[in-house]
Amino acid sequence: MGLFQAKVNDYPSSISPALNQIYGDCQLKEMSDFTVSLAPGSIVRKYLRPQIVFESNTSIPFKPLPFSQAYALLEWGLNWCLATHDFNHLLLHSAVLVKNNKAVLFPALPGSGKSTLSCWLAIQGWKLYSDEMAVINTDSLTAEPLYRPACIKNHSIELVRSWQPDATITKVCSDTAKGDVAHAKFQTWEDYCRLQPVEIAGIVFPKYDGNLSEEQYYTIAKSQVFEELCQHAFNYHVLGYQAFDTVWRLLDKVKVFEVHYSNLGFMDEFLLDEVVGHGA
């Protein structure tokens, strides 16, 4: 995962292709930070409506899922590993995209089209630091890159394919709690290794609305955003004061917008104009 390394001990051969597609080019470190496995639920369930169970170092955090959703479960499991073990960073449920050495956070609102937007921007040349989790250094307030794919759902899978026909996308897992799910990656390990922690320039709450005739954007009261971010933090309750302080200092220096859009091209331009600048 870049910042961290997980050792996958046991997994069904059916997810090998996806695993190779997404993480096959990672260079291994001597020490893994997590150990995970995906195993059948029980002997009965190995044959009858097969299930898969995610386990990390003797913890089983989730209920079993249908066997076909193994890869999606692995990705969610890795999110769980990060969120429940990394208390050195503030972790926000948010996508992080970087251009001109400045990061923009898109805190998640389910159904807001965050992941689709992430993919679009990644294809437009933005660096996808993370689709799911912003890893924020509590001292420098920079965002750290993760080597993780974007999780795309339902219609977005076809959209991404149409934008970039040769995109690296895993086989679709159907009928998960989030609908059809696939994972897409937009950089190689070599690209990733060149990424550095970068300053966060803005926080944007995107809202996709296909019926919109004209894009609208608002600035939002920082007190309101403060509350939203605290709610979006995975480890706010553990970091306590440090999380409060980090969010506070972060809000003091970034621009905050809520943007309603129907046109993805608009978002690209808007972010360059208003948030990260056009660079040198």
Binding site: K29, E30, M31, S32, D33, T35, G41, S42, V44, R45, Q51, V53, N57, T58, I60, P61, F62, K63, P64, L65, L73, W76, N79, W80, A83, T84, H85, D86, F87, N88, H93, A108, P110, E132, A177, Q231, F234, N235, H237, V238, L239, G240, Q242
Partner: protein, 374 residues
């Protein structure tokens, strides 16, 4: 340290943390995984952090240890806060709540307090204050989760505690005890000695005195049918013994053990402490060869049963020993007739869940949005 991680390596890590700076990253990886499972990562992190060795640890390892410290410290703060609230609430009702186990170590700031995790707060009140306490808590944001009628009956009729209480907003779990062991077992200790030495800590919260705290930790470890965090409990006991080691302390421990008929349990623990942690605490060997053989057998069983349940340390012997502990724990808990009934009901429910493939009846469904937010 060889690459194959063994239980001896874990014990060595606890005994000589300063030597850990020599570990390779590969060896650290195994050690960290086992420490996490044994709930000893934060304990060792604090020990290392307070020593010069801290800066010689590889950065990747330090990140894990730091994170564990942040988490444990947060829980520590929470125990104090929660403890103060409960204390104030019950004192106003004329009940003196005494904190037990993890919460007690934290409240009393014993040597094992830093980095001690606890999944719940354990509280002892006198039996005549139980109803008042439960009512006061229920009226102040604590509630019982729905449990089966059978489980409720089990708690109310057999157990030394009432069904767990949960805090409505903070999710804290509270176990309210009126004894230190199940009355139905016939082995519940007389509590006079335990209550006699209750100490008011600096924070104003009450705990047992050191010797009683030590003895209760032994009762809890040795009479329970599960020893999932048994090795962590042994490290607790090691720290307590080390901190309070004196003639007076051991005399008091022996007195409490004798009065509550837990001398064998005390002996098993002290022998294991001496074996693992290179100490020479007093053991009063029992008279009679049968008693002596019983003690030897129990030491052998617990020596294996208390090895943390981690795949890296798994062996047939420890699995078997844990099974013996499981059976022994149940047979001590209740008379045979009650036990057979209890076991049949639990077995039936267990089989049903297993057949359904529901091996994780307590786990949360995959919902990342909600899983981490209380």
């Amino acid at each position: 340290m060889a690459h194959n991680f063994t239980f001896e390596h874990l014990v060595q890590a606890i005994n000589s943390p300063h030597q850990l700076v020599q570990l390779s990253l590969r060896e650290w990886e195994s050690l960290l995984f086992v420490l996490k499972t044994s709930r000893l990562e934060a304990y060792l992190a604090f020990v290392m952090h307070d020593s010069e060795a801290w800066h010689s640890i590889p950065e990747q390892v330090r990140a894990h240890l730091s994170a564990a410290m942040v988490y444990a410290q947060r829980q520590n703060d929470q125990v104090f806060h929660e403890g103060q609230e409960i204390h104030d609430l019950l004192m106003a009702q004329g009940v003196t709540p005494v904190f037990l186990k993890g919460a007690a170590y934290i409240v009393a700031a014993t040597n094992n307090a830093k980095g001690r995790l606890c999944s719940d707060i354990d509280l002892l009140v006198k039996e005549d204050g139980l109803v008042i306490s439960e009512t006061a808590l229920l009226n102040n944001f604590w509630y019982h989760k729905t449990i089966t009628d059978y489980d409720d009956k089990y708690y109310r009729e057999y157990a030394h505690e009432i069904p767990p209480l949960y805090h409505l907003t903070r999710g804290t779990v509270l176990d309210l005890h009126h004894n230190l062991f199940l009355p139905i077992s016939g082995k519940a200790p007389p509590l006079e000695q335990f209550w006699q030495g209750v100490v008011c800590q600096e924070s104003g919260l009450y705990t047992l005195e050191p010797a009683a705290m030590f003895m209760h930790s032994i009762i809890h470890l040795m009479l329970n049918e599960e020893v999932v965090y048994g090795f962590r409990d042994m490290v607790d006991l090691k720290c307590l013994a080390q901190q309070y080691d004196s003639v007076g302390f051991w005399q008091r421990v022996e007195l409490i053990a004798a009065e509550s008929h837990f001398e064998t349990e005390l002996n098993v623990v002290v022998i294991l402490l001496n074996t693992w942690f290179n100490t020479a605490y007093p053991v009063k060997h029992p008279e009679g060869s049968l008693q002596r053989r019983k003690l030897q057998l129990l030491v052998r069983i617990y020596k294996y049963a208390l090895i943390p349940e981690h795949p890296a340390l798994h062996s047939l012997r420890s699995g078997l020993a844990r099974f013996v502990v499981f059976v022994r724990g149940h047979s001590i808990k209740m008379p045979l007739t009650v036990l057979v009934k209890h076991f049949s009901i639990k077995l039936w429910l267990g089989c049903r869940n297993w057949l359904r493939g529901d091996t994780t009846a307590d786990a949360k469904p995959v919902d990342l949005g909600a899983a981490f937010k209380r």
